[in-house]
């Protein structure tokens, strides 16, 4: 009955010209390359999967420890470990080709060239629907965070990527020095199709047993329910400032959390840390969202996107 009722609400959503069957997106870094999560979650039932951040060449990531738990949150310092674009194409694209869901590939580089070369190779793969540019990872020395430090360097990078990316181009933002409104206006002008907001927040943990910093790279990125109120503010401000489609994320762990992001202006929602706790979280969130909408007599998801002002 539940699933039958589900069909009463039209939950199709769009990111620019790309249609998603529903607004639930698996966030990058918490769903592996797809195959790892498949035994626990029917990937064809989410709107899209975003694979772990890829770089042109494999990257071994940071030394352990890589994860720390804080109040209602998680700090990670994975350091963007990944198998690189080539191995991903060989090992994972065949599996992803068996799916009907949207596939986004998150990428990062150490300079404009490596971003561009990665993007160029991936945009040629038919199965890939969107390329998400991570300019906000706090966990690697040159993980692109520097690109978000000034509007100029961001414009330069994204301008070049827009030229090579023929798929839906998504830019993933995190907390930045620049005003988020100014950033999304710029990205819209550059022809970016959508933004993902937000990446993790720079944070730090202490190891009380040896009285030293917990992570070898000192700072790490905070995610999970703890950051939700800050992520909501960022999504609100970004969608107020421009009409660029936004995938809202940060601490979503229930159907009503997802509704909140839609209400402040996101047209899709990402689920990250909640997937670590429960691999099927995205589907439970989707169901919770739908039943909230049904309970309110909402027929189409557009009725609530950006309604809370």
């Amino acid at each position: 009955m539940c699933s039958l009722r589900g069909y009463l609400v039209n939950i199709k959503t769009r990111l620019g010209t790309l249609e998603l069957a529903n607004p639930l997106v698996l966030a990058s870094g918490t769903a592996g390359y797809g195959r790892e999560i498949a035994p626990y979650l029917d990937l064809n039932r989410v709107g899209a999967i975003t694979v772990k951040g890829l770089s042109l060449f494999p990257c071994s990531g940071n030394p352990p420890p890589r994860i720390y738990e804080s109040a209602s949150g998680v700090l990670n310092s994975i350091g963007l470990e990944n198998k690189g674009v080539e191995r991903f194409i060989q090992e994972d694209i065949p599996f992803l080709e068996t799916l009907s869901t949207r596939v986004f590939v998150n990428i990062w580089g150490t300079d404009e060239h490596s971003y561009r070369d990665g993007a160029r190779t991936l945009t040629a793969i038919e199965r890939i629907d969107g390329i998400e540019i991570n300019v906000s990872c706090p966990n690697v020395e040159k993980g692109g965070a520097s690109f978000a430090c000034s509007l100029d360097s961001l414009a330069s990078l994204i301008g070049k990527l827009r030229k090579v990316v023929t798929k839906t181009l998504i830019v993933k933002l995190g907390p930045m020095k620049e005003d988020i409104g100014a950033v999304v206006i710029l990205l819209e002008q550059l022809g970016v199709d959508a933004v993902s907001i937000t990446n993790t927040f720079p944070a730090l943990a202490v190891n009380l047993s040896n009285e030293r910093l917990f992570f070898s790279r000192k700072t790490a990125g905070l995610s999970g329910p703890a950051i939700k109120p800050m992520a909501l503010r960022m999504v609100y401000e970004a969608t107020q400032a421009s009409s660029i489609p936004c995938i809202g994320m940060g601490g979503i762990s229930s159907g009503t959390d997802a509704v909140e992001f839609l209400l402040v202006g996101a047209c899709a929602v990402g689920v990250g840390t909640a997937t670590l706790k429960n691999p099927a979280a995205a589907l439970e969130i989707l169901e919770g969202m739908q039943s909230w909408m049904e309970g309110r007599g909402i027929e189409r998801i557009e009725e609530i996107i950006g309604k809370a002002r």
């Binding site: 352990p64 994975i78 470990e81 999970g224 840390t273 691999p279």
Partner: protein
């Protein structure tokens, strides 16, 4: 996630043993595997905790955990009849193709080796089991040593306790090997604290032998998506939850 129902609770010193009913977990579990356990219905602590499987049979399985921090303290408050959301069984188990086995457990490392010894006993494979603990607060762990017909069982304690061998598992191993030279085909299985594993990895007695070890790491997901559980190995980083927790001791670097 599956819902396991706690059907039994036993306090064993600073450890708690839960017997649970959950067919999905119990019917698929093999020795060496673990489950991710939800420790709080609220948003804090958020992540699940990895716990080894003590045994599994029919629709039931058991957990044995040490109360060390926030999560295990919350778990310790659960009672018979409560439900425990669990994900699993996860990871790969010990290989069961030994013709004779020697199990070396340190502290809570006894959990998965207890399951392994039970299984070997069922399979009729001769198994000896040495288990060591730090001090007298842990001597109740002795009950998890499985008695096998042909094999030896020995429980030792680093602190002097009347009637117990005094020393570490490695000391016990040396003593044991001096009396009963290890048969060449005996496979060694071990699980325990880092220091002990490291000592074993360097130990001449185990040189060139097949040694399987079950490792621990801080975990985010437990099912292979987050890359939190990386550990240096001979081939770069290995991920304990998906490429372990059991692996060849020779693959581990220190």
């Amino acid at each position: 996630m599956n819902e396991a129902v706690i059907t039994g609770k036993q306090i064993v010193g600073n450890f708690i043993e839960f017997t649970c009913t959950c067919a999905e977990v119990a019917q698929h579990a093999v020795p060496g595997q673990f489950v991710m356990v939800s420790v709080s219905p609220t948003l804090d602590p958020f992540l699940n905790r990895p716990l080894g499987i003590l045994w599994a049979k029919d629709d039931s399985f058991a957990l044995l955990f040490e109360v060390v921090g926030r999560g295990t303290s919350l778990l310790a408050c659960l009672e018979k009849g409560d439900t425990l959301p669990v994900l699993g069984p996860l990871g790969n188990g010990y290989s069961l193709d030994a013709s004779s086995a020697l199990l070396l457990a340190g502290g809570r490392g006894v959990v998965t080796l207890h399951f392994l010894a039970r299984r070997f006993k069922e399979l009729g494979i001769p198994v000896s089991m040495l288990c060591g603990v730090r001090d007298s607060s842990e001597i109740m762990l002795e009950r998890y040593i499985i008695e096998c017909e042909s094999g030896l069982r020995l429980f030792c304690c680093e602190e002097g306790v009347r009637g117990l061998f005094q020393g570490t598992v490695v000391d016990a191993l040396e003593e044991y090997a001096a009396l009963h030279p290890l048969a060449p085909e005996t496979v060694i299985y071990t699980c325990g604290p880092e220091g002990m594993l490291r000592e074993l990895a360097m130990h001449p007695l185990l040189e060139k032998r097949r040694v399987e070890v079950s490792l621990e790491a801080l975990m985010g997901c437990g099912f292979g998506v987050c890359m939190s559980c990386a550990r240096k190995s001979t081939e770069g980083y290995m991920h304990i939850c998906s490429e372990g927790p059991v692996c060849a001791l020779s693959e581990v670097t220190w």
